[in-house]
């Protein structure tokens, strides 16, 4: 597996896209911190980038890469290597490449420019989102043989999780606003990885406001580190579930 991962990683690193992505993140991070005198506000602006751009790039790049290396995968499958090995090697090399770009582009400059707890949380949220969306992209890629269709599905995933899903939650909250919705909202939010990542940051930046509407249940949830642990745990579930489902399909698929 290590050998395959090595070759896939070489392939990705030779691709100019990852370098561009790194450069873009670097530029954004530096410009945010130099434009805003208040590092807290810069962190907030970066949060928007992390929540929008990181999932988008991760999911689209992975899908395209998967189809571009289709022939390579076919070649590997002709060798005495198990499909699982190939699959995981692909997954790990892509997610490591993307998270390296993220670490160089956002994490390291942030640690130098504004070392704080909220920065650490933001870095963690971005990394977890990368893992989740690479896994989702594998789901999209395995689902169909058609590249355009797969990219369509990937984009739909992104659009659904960034915008549509939150709209649906807001609609539910609005329609049932006469009922106690604390736990329901929390459950609904757990069904969206981007929301989970957002809550990790929210717990750092807006804790005073979150404490505003809570009962005893939420006071415990938000007040302790339980909220962060919960979100991180669910983000791992969000990585593993699509990854394993897609793997099942990949192993059985007639390529």
């Amino acid at each position: 597996m290590m050998k395959i991962a090595k070759y896939v990683s070489y392939d990705i690193l030779r691709n100019r896209f990852i370098a561009l992505y790194t450069l873009f993140l670097l530029m954004v991070t530096f410009s945010m911190f130099s434009l805003d005198s208040d590092p807290g506000k810069a962190t907030l602006s970066l949060l928007n980038i992390v929540l929008l751009v990181v999932p988008l790039v991760s999911i689209v790049f992975t899908t395209i890469h998967f189809y571009n290396s289709y022939e390579f995968i076919e070649l590997l499958l002709a060798q005495p290597v198990s499909r699982k090995t190939i699959y995981f090697a692909e997954y790990f090399s892509i997610s490591i490449a993307l998270s390296t770009a993220y670490i160089i582009g956002v994490a390291i400059p942030m640690l130098f420019l504004n070392f704080s707890e909220s920065s650490l949380y933001l870095i963690m949220a971005g990394l977890l989102l990368t893992f989740v969306f690479v896994a989702l992209a594998f789901g999209a890629s395995v689902a169909t043989r058609d590249k355009a269709k797969a990219i369509g599905i990937a984009l739909l995933f992104w659009f659904y999780f960034t915008l549509i899903y939150d709209g649906l939650i807001l609609y539910v909250i609005y329609s049932f606003s006469d009922y106690p919705l604390d736990k329901v909202t929390l459950a609904l939010v757990s069904l969206n990885p981007i929301d989970l990542a957002r809550i990790i940051i929210l717990l750092k930046l807006d804790l005073s406001a979150l404490m505003g509407y809570t009962g005893a249940f939420y006071k415990n949830f938000f007040g302790s580190s339980l909220g962060v642990i919960y979100s991180v745990l669910f983000l791992f579930v969000w990585t593993l579930a699509p990854l394993l489902l897609a793997m099942r399909k990949f192993v059985r698929k007639d390529i």
Binding site: D166, L170, Y174, S177, L181, L205, D206, A209, G212, T214
Partner: protein
């Protein structure tokens, strides 16, 4: 002439000898505080040496000074009120009072003063008392440098730290109160000064007053109290250079103003409260040069407030700057610094050229549906707020800062 001189000398001598000092100690002739109080005459001083004294309730009905040496412990044995004072010019200095009784009908206190003019309570320690210091109808009294602490579990099993009822011209200075129901409680207290106190971790309010006109609150710190600070039904209050911090919870406020009129609130720092200032039915309050930082809501102003003025305040990294519950706006918000302001300043006069609307659409949404706060900072909410800024429809159009400052005022407290 000589006769007169002798007369004066004899008179002065006799006056001096009148004020005697009684020493209470285990090995002295006076062994109990009670008997010392009995023996003492007006103007005498009682010195209490180190030790533990369990003498039940002590009633003081003459003007005497009680001084503790090395904090002698007066134990109320969880049954008694320790001092009941009903005389003018009494001083209680340097004692440690512990374990008063608990009552749901009587306000049992460590020091209870009734109609005591010019009472001085200085430099005492109170541990596990029901009420700490209870002043009723006391004029010109001073409570200074005391430390009060209790360990109640629930609100109804504990009294207030410093409780004043129907007093005038009293001074509460440099006390530390924690673990009581209300740290400092005023009812019908006028022309008084509350200064440099530290009221924290109380069950209910750090400071609570009602019907207490013309009072001044300076340089106090109110931190992490169950429900913050609440002040009600009062006119002409001055609150200057106080800190309101870390009051978290659904009904917890940095400063709750209900039916307050003509108040001056200046140079205060509101940090990390769920709601920094909540105003209801208040009129003509002037908020100037305050700093609001890291609060959930910096200001929640109900629509029944009028003629209040917010000017030259700094609003820094609050989740929501302002919220209100109606479209009618009778208040003025002017020349504040808002860190969320995104306008420009073409003429370089350090005043933004476009007005700032401190009420965001989503703060109105959260006001109606509290659970919606979970979606805060999502892309959807960001777009909703943007749309509302371009085409205001739900937020009150007139609630705006016409002269927003371009730079932070940088008040350093």
């Amino acid at each position: 002439m000589i006769r007169v001189v002798i007369f004066v000398a004899v008179f002065l001598f006799s006056v001096c000898t009148f004020a005697r000092t009684w020493v209470v100690a285990k090995n002295s002739s006076v062994k109990s505080i009670k008997s010392a109080i009995e023996l003492a005459a007006k103007g005498d001083t009682i010195r209490i040496m180190k030790g533990i004294y369990k003498e039940g309730n002590m009633v003081i009905q003459k003007s005497i000074v009680i001084i503790g040496i090395d904090y002698p412990v007066l134990d109320g044995e969880n049954k008694y009120e320790i001092f009941t004072i009903a005389a003018t010019d009494v001083s209680i200095i340097g004692l440690r009072m512990i374990n008063t009784g608990v009552g749901s009908i009587n306000d049992i206190s460590a020091i209870s003063a009734i109609e005591a003019k010019r009472l001085r309570v200085l430099n005492n320690q109170f541990e596990n008392t029901f009420f700490g210091i209870h002043l009723a109808n006391c004029i010109g009294s001073v409570v200074e440098d005391n430390v009060l602490h209790s360990n109640a579990e629930v609100e109804h099993q504990i009294g207030n730290g410093i409780h004043a009822w129907k007093c005038d011209s009293i001074t509460i200075r440099n006390n530390k109160v924690s673990g009581h129901r209300d740290g400092i409680y005023f009812e019908f207290v006028t022309n008084s000064l509350v200064e440099k106190n530290f009221s924290h971790h109380n069950m209910r309010y750090g400071l609570h007053f009602m019907f207490s006109h013309n009072d001044e609150y300076r340089s106090n710190v109110f931190q992490n109290n169950g429900a913050g600070v609440a002040v009600m039904y009062t006119k002409k209050v001055k609150m200057i250079s106080n800190r309101f911090e870390d009051n978290w919870g659904a009904s917890s406020y940095g400063l709750l103003l209900k039916d307050i009129g003509d108040a001056d609130i200046q140079l205060n720092h509101f940090a990390k409260n769920t709601v920094a200032v909540y105003m209801e039915g208040s009129s003509r309050c002037h908020f100037t040069q305050n700093v609001f930082s890291g609060n959930g809501w910096a200001v929640k102003m109900q629509a029944n407030c009028d003629e209040n003025v917010y000017s030259k305040n700094s609003f820094l990294s609050n989740t929501f700057d302002m919220a209100t519950n109606g479209s009618l706006v009778l208040n003025t918000v002017d020349a504040n610094y808002w860190d969320k302001y995104e306008g420009y300043d073409l003429d370089k006069d350090r005043v933004g050229d476009v007005p700032y609307h401190p009420v965001s659409l989503y703060s109105m949404v959260v006001e109606k549906m509290p659970s919606a706060v979970m979606l805060w900072r999502s892309f959807l909410v960001y777009m909703l707020d943007r749309t509302e800024k371009v085409l205001p429809s739900a937020t009150p159009e007139n609630l705006k800062d016409i002269h927003p400052a371009m730079r932070n005022y940088d008040y350093n407290f």
